[in-house]
């Protein structure tokens, strides 16, 4: 009862504001807020899934970039070079619009459930894209492992696998964290290309709203605010993580 009353008064306030005082129609945004929330969920879903899959893919790739012989290193380098050197939009167009050119693809068992769907194409491309960037970030971190740590691990008689698991990767992950937080934010930023392949992410909803009511600002400004909140939350989370995982590296406070 109480919440209903306050909600109505907020809606009335919004309506009054939109009709009489503001060039923006807040009421319209308020009415379609559920769509924006669905859009946020889609943006987050694809971004987070791609980051998890791409991150998992990046670990072995980074290790092979850092240690392996040229025969493995060169193809991995080609992979990261191509994905880092071209726009995500082009990659996604290539897969979503391009693959249909080949009859072989259209008749394969993957076509109907996956490759003809915008969602799966986007997930595939996003995963490979973030895997390429993360590989290079991780490789840099692995290569800057302090020599002493590696020598100590060898002196203890660790096998290469144990050393990787206990010494090199944990410290490399820590060193990669600041750069990786940037990559996560960039990934969120790049996820706007979802709206160009018919998916209703945050920007997609904004474009839909503007198109439907013939507006210029409302949808985009709302989308902007949603993205800002997401970026703010993500950078907060990463700052907390950095504090937690790098606690032993911070200079001690004088007491």
């Amino acid at each position: 009862m109480n919440t209903a009353a306050s909600e109505r008064s907020f809606a009335e306030y919004l309506k009054n504001l939109s009709e009489n005082h503001s060039p923006l129609d807040f009421m319209l945004v308020w009415d379609h807020l559920d769509r924006f929330i669905d859009g946020t969920l889609l943006t987050l879903e694809i971004t987070v899934l791609a980051l998890c899959l791409g991150g998992a893919l990046a670990v072995p790739l980074a290790i092979s970039r850092a240690y392996a012989k040229p025969i493995i290193n060169v193809p991995v380098w080609c992979f990261t070079y191509v994905f880092r050197g071209t726009p995500l939009l082009v990659q996604i167009y290539l897969v979503y619009y391009g693959l249909a050119q080949f009859e072989m693809v259209r008749e394969s068992f993957l076509w109907d459930p996956f490759l003809s769907k915008a969602y799966w194409c986007a997930l595939l491309v996003f995963t490979l894209n973030t895997a390429a960037y993360t590989t290079e970030i991780l490789r840099g971190a692995i290569e800057t492992t302090p020599r002493g740590e590696v020598e100590a691990a060898r002196a203890c008689g660790m096998t290469a696998a144990t050393m990787m698991r206990r010494i090199v990767l944990p410290s490399a992950f820590r060193r990669a964290l600041p750069a990786y937080s940037n990559e996560v934010i960039f990934m969120l930023h790049s996820s706007v290309v979802l709206s160009t392949i018919t998916l209703q992410d945050i920007l997609g909803v904004g474009r839909w709203l503007n198109g439907r009511y013939y507006l210029a600002y409302e949808g985009f400004i709302t989308a902007m605010l949603f993205y800002m909140v997401l970026v703010f939350v993500i950078s907060r989370i990463f700052r907390l993580w950095e504090k937690h995982w790098m606690a032993h590296l911070r200079p001690r406070k004088s007491s």
């Binding site: 939009l89 619009y97 934010i185 790049s190 600002y217």
Partner: protein
């Protein structure tokens, strides 16, 4: 391959648009970046606040959103202002301008951070020495700050430029006939979308590789007087 050859002019025109757009927005971004860095380092509190708000806003919002806001909203705003003040009639902002302004605006914020870091990396003693020998502000900028700032800023600048170049692909979404848009058109019309998008991929790779080589050469030049460690 034949089809690409047949449409080579369309692709070349698109590449030209993309490169012009990238260079134009780079110019704007460098200007905004220098202004932002100077404002952050020794501007008034108001200038500092504006510069901080600018970089925070851009870091928080994807470039395509800003681009669309500027292209559709900016158009409306200019015309509303014109109608309200009666100073000008209907103005049409073309996509090229909107593209340059929005990409330049976005990357100006990243340049601000790069330049700020680079200026901060210059040892304070050198500026004090400059003041001590009686250099004026502009002279000090030209002789002491600029050569070293370029050296410290180049790695970040290279990175920003490569990201900017890739960001230009987004202008096809607001209807500019750049490389991506032209290739999609050609690909759709003869039903070979993959071939044409692949060509775009290769062209972008060439562009990034060329700028990589060029900027590395510049880096070596500006580091000529620094001992290799």
């Amino acid at each position: 391959m034949d089809s690409i050859w047949a449409y080579r002019m369309l692709l070349l025109e698109g590449t030209a648009v993309t490169v012009q757009l990238a260079l134009g927005s780079l110019l704007l971004a460098v200007l905004l970046g220098l202004l932002g860095a100077l404002a952050k380092l020794n501007g008034s509190p108001v200038a500092k606040a504006v510069a901080n708000a600018y970089t925070t806003l851009v870091r928080g919002v994807p470039d395509l959103v800003l681009m669309m806001l500027l292209f559709y909203g900016g158009q409306q705003l200019v015309n509303d202002l014109g109608a309200a003040t009666g100073l000008w009639d209907y103005v049409e902002i073309n996509q090229f301008t909107a593209g340059i302004v929005s990409i330049g605006f976005v990357f100006g914020a990243y340049m601000t951070e790069t330049f700020r870091g680079a200026i901060l990396a210059i040892p304070k003693g050198q500026l004090e020495a400059g003041i001590a020998v009686g250099m004026t502000g502009p002279l000090m900028f030209r002789r002491i700050i600029w050569p070293q700032m370029v050296r410290f800023a180049l790695p970040g600048f290279t990175n920003n430029w490569l990201v900017l170049l890739k960001a230009t692909a987004l202008v096809s979404v607001i209807g500019l006939h750049d490389l991506v848009a032209n290739a999609s058109t050609a690909g759709r019309s003869i039903r070979e979308p993959f071939t044409f998008m692949f060509a775009v991929l290769i062209i972008y790779l060439i562009l990034t590789a060329v700028s990589d080589v060029g900027l590395r050469w510049l880096e070596r030049r500006y580091n000529a007087d620094v001992r290799a460690s």
